[in-house]
């Protein structure tokens, strides 16, 4: 993955978050406080600005995006995305491009950070329900020598399904956990927005291969 693709990913993510802002808010209204779309959209607006002035290198760009999200998203998602991306930045090479394995390693660092900070397990009805299996599939695919665009295409579809599967769960972490049994029957907003990140990844890479 090179810097252009990386930035394209974030631009596409910004667009799809913006397009789904109201929907994400409505998901959050059902089991939270109706701000997840607003939070993510506010953060992405700043994040892509960081992307517009790449100061050279994936790490610098990733760190700029991390700081932008950390200082604008707020809420649970802001802390998780922001601090997670800081770990992502630390793990990704400084160079203007990286190998698929290096990218997978950075995603792994991101997911570990989210788990350390948020303490959520698989099935707790959070973004972890998307990121954890996605990370595993990503690493497995890279290990097996699949091309990143192909893995991303699989993940775009799989994460969408995993996000929707959170609907049947009872939330055990985050604000939705306070609803207990009442949290069942609604898709987790953070899981859904996370699946959009993989959708954006697949689109960014499809443009390359296409």
């Amino acid at each position: 993955m090179d810097e252009a693709e990386f930035c394209r990913l974030w631009h596409l993510f910004q667009e799809v978050i913006d397009g789904n802002k109201e929907y994400l808010n409505s998901l959050d209204a059902a089991i939270g406080d109706a701000d997840h779309g607003t939070n993510m959209a506010r953060g992405m607006e700043k994040a892509v600005a960081a992307c517009d002035q790449p100061e050279g290198g994936l790490r610098v760009t990733a760190k700029a995006i991390a700081m932008a999200m950390l200082s604008t998203v707020g809420g649970a998602s802001g802390a998780l995305w922001g601090s997670g991306l800081l770990k992502f930045a630390a793990a990704i090479p400084e160079a203007v491009a990286c190998s698929d394995r290096e990218f997978a390693g950075a995603v792994d660092a991101f997911v570990s950070s989210i788990r350390d900070r948020g303490k959520a397990n698989l099935g707790d009805k959070t973004m972890v329900d998307v990121f954890l299996p996605a990370r595993d599939r990503l690493i497995a695919g890279v290990e097996a020598g699949e091309a990143l665009p192909a893995i991303a295409e699989v993940l775009a579809e799989a994460t969408a399904a995993w996000a929707l599967e959170t609907k049947d769960l009872i939330a055990l972490k985050g604000r939705a956990a306070y609803l207990g049994e009442r949290s069942r029957g609604h898709v987790d907003p953070g899981a859904f927005s996370s699946s959009l990140w993989f959708l954006s990844l697949s689109r960014a890479l499809a443009e390359r291969s296409g």
């Binding site: 607003t38 998203v73 922001g82």
Partner: protein, 336 residues
Amino acid sequence: MKKLINSIDHVVDEALDGMVLAFPQYLVRVPDTHVLARAVPKAQGKVGIVSGGGSGHEPAHGGYVGYGMLDAAVAGEVFTSPTPDQVLAGIKAADHGGGVLLVVKNYTGDVMNFDIAREMAEAEGIQTGTVTVNDDVAVEDSLYTSGRRGIAGTVFVHKVAGALAELGASLEEVAAGANAVIANVASMGFALEPCTVPAAGKPTFELAGDEMEMGIGIHGEPGTHRMKVEAASELTRHLFVKIAADLELVAGTRVVAMVNGMGATPLLELAVMANELGRLAAAEGLALEQVFLGEFMTSLEMAGASLTLLRVDERRLELIGSSCDTPALRQGVKFG
């Protein structure tokens, strides 16, 4: 949605400036931040107290900045926890060399953002401590979940921690006092009407003309269950019974209470609820030492109320009742 605002994006920014305009004797705004700090900082060496959270809970949290309570309040967007850089700015404003205590309400977002800020502050050599308020007994407590929420009981934590800090207590002592409040405070609330987050543009839930939500938090979230509206006596009893059970109150226990409006409930009605509280406390033989009645921790224009009880001993009662001078809470007026 009808709101007395100019734009969704600037409401917090403009409101913070409005608070400074109205309370210049208490508040300054830390430049380029959403932090309100004391206009007259406390003496060097004393512990600083920082609180904060999403906006929309006014007078919390900026309303509690001043003598005897907070040193700085950090405001997030409406119902969204503030970001770590903002919290760090609050910590720096509150740091007078004696360390800084962070009062955090137990929401994942608040906890994590304050944690990140605390890591940053420690990296810069500022000694910090955190206490996490989780007074909401509507929510089941469990080690496997996020635990209980922090709601109006937070104001009592501000009061006691602030009073101790003013007296020159160490960071450990202030944190211990705050944690003692947390161990002895319980709250619960309900909504008769929902509120509308400006950015969302519509109410966070919808209620029929005879319905209400019991066990709500302070972010417009739905509560634990929906029910038919009942009389003030029944609603107050409902909260009281849950809280009293949680605190294991018995005849003779000394308590301080807070009857807190969620935003749109008239003081006339809150006073009716206070009257019911008085009856219940008398029937149970509780010693109701002080009652705070008004709006202390709101949810925008939500209609409804919460009840908080704090078990006190002589010392804690003194700290609750001691002088303080902030925009929203003032005690100890000197006459003549």
